[in-house]
């Protein structure tokens, strides 16, 4: 680790401590606000000859604040580093802002949430877009007994700069989602469709449109169960997804590779009432823009969350 990197790390840790003290004081002063911080890291390795990618790493944090159950906002910052086989790398910063309002109108047996997200990515790559901006609008419904969920999301992403992307791309994404509980709410299944249209696709040697489906399954265990886990998770994505935006993870897959599948398993531990640790392992499959054979990258994702109540 260089001195600069070490100093940056110390600064980041001190900033987080200052931030967490600030949040704690705000939450204690006003018990109508509830805050949560998520620290996450992701790492993936690519050994396949079909790609020039060597490894992908990501680290970041999200701060979520909610006023009772009426609404809230989330601020996120993530840094991603993509190392290539030739020793070069692409570094990018992702800033995420999100706001939500919850409505409980009479006559509807559940809660409606209106959500708006904004993303801004800047990177230092020549080939990829210099900057990506995206906005999402989502309306969701969860019934009061928390056994049925549906949402519809729309995202407009704008890619600017970048030689290989012909300088400018506009991408529209629709994501209808349905979720439901099973086995007396011991299980939750969620299915989301990704329907993505790309403007100016031919100029950038990209498909006009891609579509993919994602299935997520969560199983809550009894106390003192397997490895003392609170829940087990399984996720699979099939189809083709390019420039997808994952609302749950607040992530844009902005690097110009075609995602053709993802498989992950993991679990979450809950410590007391305020701390959670989630671990996911899986594999992602991509095709390069040149249409080579698919290549795969196993990954590991770790998330620690702390809530102030």
């Amino acid at each position: 680790m260089t001195a600069l990197a070490a100093r940056r790390k110390v600064l980041t840790i001190s900033s987080m401590l200052v931030l967490s003290n600030f949040i704690s004081s705000v939450v204690n002063a006003q018990d109508s606000w509830f805050a949560r911080v998520d620290l996450q890291t992701f790492t993936s390795q690519f050994s396949d000859a079909a790609t020039s990618r060597d490894s992908l790493g990501n680290a970041g944090m999200f701060l979520r604040a909610d006023y009772l159950e009426r609404g809230g906002f989330t601020i996120g910052f993530n840094r991603t580093a993509l190392d290539l086989d030739d020793g070069s790398s692409v570094d990018q910063d992702n800033i995420f802002l999100s706001g939500r309002v919850a409505l409980t109108p009479d006559g509807i047996d559940g809660r409606i949430t209106l959500r708006a997200d904004g993303y801004n990515i800047s990177n230092d790559a020549i080939d990829e877009a210099d900057s990506v901006a995206a906005g999402t609008a989502q309306v969701s419904y969860l019934n009061f007994s928390e056994t049925f969920y549906v949402d519809l999301g729309f995202t407009r992403s704008e890619y600017r700069g970048g030689q290989a992307l012909a300088g400018r791309l506009d991408i529209d994404q629709f994501t209808p989602t349905i979720g439901f509980a099973l086995n007396q709410q011991s299980d939750w299944v969620q299915v989301r469709g990704y329907f993505i249209d790309v403007s100016n696709a031919s100029g950038a040697n990209l498909p006009d449109s891609t579509s993919a489906f994602e299935l997520k399954w969560t199983h809550w265990l009894r106390p003192n169960g397997f490895l003392n886990l609170n829940n087990l998770r399984f996720s699979v994505l099939g189809g083709e997804r390019q420039f997808g935006v994952d609302h749950d993870a607040a992530t844009i897959f902005n690097l110009a590779e075609l995602q053709t599948g993802t498989l992950s398993v993991g679990g979450e531990w809950v410590f007391g009432e305020q701390n959670r640790l989630m671990l996911l392992v899986g594999v992602e499959e991509y095709e390069s823009r040149q249409g080579s054979d698919p290549y795969r990258g196993p990954f590991l994702y770790l998330n620690f969350a702390h809530e102030w109540q």
């Binding site: 109508s32 009479d106 009061f144 009432e273």
Partner: protein, 205 residues
């Protein structure tokens, strides 16, 4: 002379209006209670409407309207009425506790908990305030908080089965089977037919 001649008429008119209103009120209340007992909450509400129009600041009418709207599933309207009742009488525990009902029905656990805490500042050992706070704590899955809270309440209300139920649920979610069994055992002593308690003890012998 004409004044004297009209005075009895005016008094009679006032009396007539009073008696009519009173009679309408009596029949309105009775009809409202009858419709509520029959499960016709909209009908029970309609029976009150003439009185609400003539007495828009009648605290009890507003409280009853809030209750009937809650029963009828009109949770936002119920909330508005309970808040109006609290504006009229800031001391009203009925209104403070009433507000928790539509909030809990809408799964607004934190808001309900905040409201229950407000009631507890006025009446620290109010049974319903503690009960509704526990419902919110259960909804928020705050098992340690719920366990501590329920333990205290079983000391304050040792003959009550409900607080032992919440204690048992919290212990069960904490993975403390022995403590959950003990708490459910206390439930069965107080409510021998309690299905949840019997089922837990049966499946955790």
């Amino acid at each position: 002379m004409s004044t004297q001649r009209h005075r009895p008429g005016a008094l009679g008119l006032v009396a007539l209006v009073f008696l009519t209103t009173s009679a309408l009120g009596q029949s309105g209340w009775q009809h409202s209670y009858e419709r509520e007992a029959a499960g016709d909450y909209a009908g029970a509400m309609r029976a009150l409407e003439p009185m609400i129009e003539s007495q828009p600041s009648n605290e009890f009418l507003i409280l009853r309207s809030a209750w009937l709207k809650y029963l009828n599933g009109d949770y936002n309207a119920s909330l508005r009425d309970y808040r109006r009742a609290l504006e009229l009488n800031e001391q009203s525990l009925d209104a403070m506790l009433g507000i928790t009902l539509p909030l809990l029905a809408q799964r607004r656990w934190r808001e309900a908990a905040a409201q229950a805490h407000q009631a507890l500042t006025v009446a620290p050992y109010n049974y319903y305030a503690h009960l509704r706070l526990m419902v919110a704590e259960e909804g928020l899955q705050q098992w340690r908080t719920l366990a501590d809270h329920a333990t205290e309440m079983t000391m304050r209300f040792p003959s009550d089965a409900t607080f032992f139920v919440y204690l048992a649920r919290a212990r069960a979610w904490q993975g403390n089977v022995a403590a959950a069994r003990a708490a459910y055992g206390h439930v069965l002593e107080r409510a021998p037919g309690h299905e949840e308690a019997a089922a837990y003890i049966r499946s955790n012998r």
